[in-house]
Symmetry: C2
Subunit: 409 residues, 2 copies
């Protein structure tokens, strides 16, 4: 237990000093599953020690979420606590930083009515949009870290007892988050430096498209005009330097929403708001999904695609080497924060304005004119593996090898 408490403290330090880059005097809003209270408290302590005047923790209780789907009337699911999201937006607008602790039950809503789940998700996305905007435009510094929720651990390690599964998941989070070093904060500074070099190389190249090729996949992803590659640390508009995901291994940019062609097969299951989507297969024409199926979760996928016009195009393309510690662990985390860092991936939905040059100053229309996609959703899914090659396509149409068998060339 003492070792665990020490490890939580190490993660809390990385979360506050690397993840958030929390500034002295800055308020902090934490959202966390109720099971993650031990980590939320360690983070609150580190935030106060770093000079934060106020840490507010909004605990999410999945048990209540499930009770709603089990017992609420059918008419319930278009309601959402907009007043709470408006409050969060007000907090961020007045300068608070944001930390989310990931770690939910991937199977929570299996067996519930998919239509109700979709309606609830849509209502939430609409009401949450002002918060999402402040986050995706880096109005504030923010980060996401993970905690080994017991129900999550049972899904990742179904063959183990709950206690063993939690222990094993924690070890996996620990290693994947690069915390197994004498000075994790220094380790993260060096890692962010490496990602920054990769980002600079790609920004120098200015490819017009990426070409993914492998089993079940032959996909040309056009890149947005004036696209910018990003990865690792980010300077938020308030000046703070944050690392939005702990762990992070990706470099990513904005596709051109009208220039995506071909077909692609997911290489890892996607856990999306309580449902599991496996072996997604999608075909694009002129940037739009025109065919979609999945071995499991196909109905959820179909509803996701119907969210709005932008849900049928891409808002992100990201490159991750197969040698990342997460891929090497061989663990399927059933959680995007980890699995997206085990493999190259694409995201349906909203693009990040930071991935367009001067994007945070541009109107939605100007962003769209450059090819940046707009949607209520942003859902990453993994298309990379040790069998996938990636080429960069130059302005003049030449192919340059970027990744072979999942590794940087």
């Amino acid at each position: 237990m003492e070792a665990f408490a020490h490890q939580l403290q190490q993660l809390a330090k990385v979360a506050v000093h690397v993840g958030l880059g929390l500034r002295e005097g800055q308020e902090l809003v934490i959202t966390a599953p109720i099971e993650a209270a031990p980590l939320a408290r360690k983070i609150a302590e580190q935030a106060y020690r770093a000079g934060s005047p106020l840490v507010t923790v909004l605990y999410d209780d999945e048990a209540n979420t499930l009770l709603r789907f089990q017992h609420a009337p059918e008419s319930a699911f278009d309601k959402t606590p907009k007043w709470l999201f408006d409050g969060m937006a007000a907090a961020f607008q007045s300068g608070a930083a944001r930390l989310h602790i990931a770690g939910n039950d991937p199977n929570l809503l299996q067996g519930q009515n998919p239509e109700s789940v979709a309606r609830a998700n849509r209502a939430r996305s609409v009401a949450y949009r002002p918060v999402m905007e402040l986050i995706t435009t880096h109005h504030i510094n923010w980060t996401i870290v993970a905690y080994p929720h017991p129900a999550w651990a049972r899904v990742v390690f179904p063959e183990l007892s709950e206690q063993e599964a939690v222990q094993k998941l924690w070890e996996a989070i620990w290693k994947a988050s690069r915390l197994d070093t004498p000075d994790p904060v220094a380790t993260w500074q060096a890692h962010n430096q490496n990602l920054s070099m990769r980002v600079n190389y790609l920004n120098h190249k200015r490819y017009s498209a990426l070409h993914f090729k492998g089993p079940g996949t032959d996909l040309l992803v056009g890149l947005a005009d004036d696209h910018v590659w990003a990865g690792g640390a980010v300077q938020a508009k308030n000046g703070a330097v944050c690392t939005p995901n702990i762990p992070t291994e990706e470099v990513f940019t904005a596709p051109h929403k009208d220039r995506i062609e071909g077909y692609v097969r997911s290489t890892k299951p996607l856990s999306y708001q309580g449902s599991l989507l496996e072996e997604i297969e999608v075909r694009f024409e002129k940037g739009r999904v025109v065919e979609a199926k999945a071995k499991s979760g196909g109905e959820v996928l179909e509803r996701v695609l119907q969210t709005d016009e932008g849900a049928r195009s891409l808002g992100e393309v990201a490159l991750v080497p197969h040698s990342s510690p997460i891929a090497q662990s061989g663990v399927l985390f059933y959680n995007t924060l980890f699995d997206e860092n085990a493999a190259s991936h694409i995201a349906l939905g909203q693009a990040y304005s930071e991935c367009i040059e001067g994007g945070s100053q541009l109107s939605p229309e100007a962003l769209a004119a450059k090819g940046a996609n707009s949607s209520l959703i942003h859902i990453d899914w993994m298309i990379g593996s040790s069998q996938i090659d990636v080429d960069g396509i130059t302005e003049s149409g030449q192919s340059e090898p970027l990744m072979r068998a999942g590794e940087w060339v």
Copy 2:
């Protein structure tokens, strides 16, 4: 464990059907200590079964509150999550009901800097005022129920192990909340009927003052012009009939803020936001506290009185017979929800507008002209016991015995 789950469910039913009188289609906001999650979930389930579309639980984590006082910079304590309180006010304004689960650690903040605690409380009171207004004016239906928080149980039963203390506190809550009957909802309907008869008697009498007399106490509490006695169930402005406290044994009204004379000694300790105030002794002149001391917590009392002008006068006077199940239990709960129902009491601070005829339609100035007190605080403390007599003073100045040795005459 199964018996406990069943008992929680019984309490949840009383909370939803008697406490809240929740209406079909009505949203619900629950505030609860994180330790009370098992009860919050049972209440959410009952609310959904009763037709609520959305139950939002805001968990309060006292561990984080304590960490703030231990580690935050000195300048922190004037900050408060106003954005969250504004959000709650918006929820209530749009029709949500409100349920609070009581049960905190009475000693949480002992040893912390009382000045910081007072500043934090004051900042919170100011920001929370819009919520408090909606509650005290019965804009919405609301209720408070209790859960046996382990730290609370240890204070109430310091001689027992934590597990035994929690069990014993739960039994005490169970009995005090009149749940030890075959049909607790019916029991509560009958109890509310009894309180209503007592209220009608006092409203018919129209006393101009109450006179409390006993060891350390000789206090004349003038009653506000057009005062109204209340107790038990209340019809909120939205039409729902709620019982704001489970348990409740009191009948209460508004004192006249300028007509309180004499001295009074508290008969039970008062647990106030983490501090314990014992043997409070106060002297009133022309409605204002002119002398105040306490055997413990005197500094906290002094700061409370300095909150604002209204903090030095009274906003409530309440009569509770010594034969109430709570008094009979002999348990000192260190929690106002219970202890105020074990004894007649007074409250420093804000008056309830429901205790003035047509009060919810009156301006603050009109309420003040009738003698209703106004303040950021409302703090009940117990002045009744088996040694206290209470007389009603008629308009013509005659004394009529109301209570003798703590019992209704």
